[in-house]
């Protein structure tokens, strides 16, 4: 039984801001299905009352003094932008 359908893969692709051809959807569905199937071995383990670990260090909220420091120069920041105008990043129209 397949664990993930082509429709689900299309939905996930949309969430991930990726687009695929029908052929690629086919391939990704098969591969993701296999990987998810493999991952389901974790269900063999009873993890009731086991705390999740998000990272291993015993560090919580690291704070610093709220002191303003100079940021990066605007021209530098825009240097790698594919498109910019008047000191701003330029994107295609957002409103219809």
């Amino acid at each position: 039984m397949s664990r993930i359908s082509k429709e689900q893969v299309k939905h996930v692709a949309d969430l991930a801001r990726l687009s695929f051809s029908e052929e690629e959807i086919e391939k990704f569905t098969t591969q993701l299905d296999a990987i998810i199937g493999f991952a389901e071995q974790l269900n063999e383990l009873d993890t009731t009352n086991v705390e999740p670990t998000s990272h291993v260090l015993d560090i919580k909220n690291v704070l610093r003094e709220d002191v303003a420091v100079p940021g990066l120069p605007r021209e530098e920041v825009l240097k790698n932008a594919p498109d910019h105008k008047d000191g701003l990043f330029r994107v295609p129209s957002i409103l219809e």
Binding site: F28, Q41, L42, T47, P52, S54, I59, K79, D83, V91
Partner: protein, 485 residues
Amino acid sequence: MSLFDHKMRDLHELLQKKEVSVSDLVDESFKRISEVEGKVQAFLTLDEENARNKAKQLDEKLAGGDSTGILFGMPIGIKDNIVTKGVRTTCASKILENFDPIYDATVMQKLHNAETVMIGKLNMDEFAMGGSTETSHYQRTYNPWNLDYVPGGSSGGSAAAVAAGEVPFTLGSDTGGSIRQPAAYCGVVGLKPTYGRVSRFGLVAFASSLDQIGPITRNVEDNAYLLQAISGVDPYDSTSANLPVPNYVEQLTGDVKGLRIAVPKEYLGEGVQASVRNAILEALKVLEKLGATWEEVSLPHSKYGVATYYLLASSEASSNLARFDGIRYGYRAQGAENLIDLYKKTRSEGFGDEVKRRIMLGTFALSSGYYDAYYKKAQQVRTLIKQDFDKVFEKYDVILGPTAPTPAFKIGAQIDDPLTMYANDLLTIPVNLAGVPGISVPCGFDNGLPIGLQIIGKHFDEATVYRVAHAFEQATDYHKQKPQL
């Protein structure tokens, strides 16, 4: 005889005595690169002009009689996911084809302060996702021991360049084995530090709770010197640990008498090739002769490491890689109709298949309705894996096993089979999940391909890991062997 057959300490002395100049070291690097790079293809970018200018400056400083640190004038190569101001940084991805960083990673800042000379940027799997350096958008890298084989990955360029003698020292990054596995495949020394030992500021993030930068070198002492230089707390990385950095080299005493070694039965079991298992058993004999003792233990949740890792690392990656949208930097697709279309086209054209696969897996695992079943479940299993290590370290000083279940595999052999590829990281992944340090040192050969011994330590106990690795290295001569290119 290459200048790079000398260890760092000897090169340092030669510089002090004016028998060798920094320019000589940099020349040696570019000479070797011109001889073998056509075969190995370890570098994505060479920074020759800057390197030669820097060498001249440093030579003047040396002539002026200034006292210099151990890393002064040392040529170094950097994995291409560590940002280098003014030097193209691609992560081996099309999406960062022309990315020219406007700041330096903290490790680069530290290397500049130590007055090293950067030779160039090294090939890797795209965004460090892979175990063979085959997912690089730009080129393959070939294993210097046998050009039909992969160098490992994702830091394949960093390991191959050291093995081929192009540079004596490199930095790599390790999320699930990406320093140790290529070090094993290429017969060099590679350390993944404790999570938090080295600042991640300026390391292009893959999986933030697992990533660490670490050194790849020809011997353990050089590795310790390099780690010393790049370690420490950093205000720009709030997960860097505010702990003193010990003098690692001072502790390379060669003494392992009374050391208690744990050997997990899972690390010599199913899936581990006989030649690898035998090499590890031989290594244990060497350490026994030096006065250490070993016992078999169990890390019962090891076998769940790979599945746990792929869920967690991919989830973190799907979030981290959301920043590549074609707006602020990097590749932008043409002909998009609106903003969403621009994101989709840019990302679909800019990322390779393995990166897309992991973004998809991660997005799925984090998506509504699946979060608890996959992401949270994997975080819980991560706790169990970490507890396995904690328990063993109550009674033992280090854990020993192979770095990888097999030596290097042939180019193209696994690239279409993600699950087989993932299984190569079986023995390195649990170390990242637990956040402890691990090193790979050469411990044998199978058909001319190197085998790596993995030594794993307690949190922030790189000193013991290095001491054991160094004692083993001094008692054997695997690290002295060089590939014929």
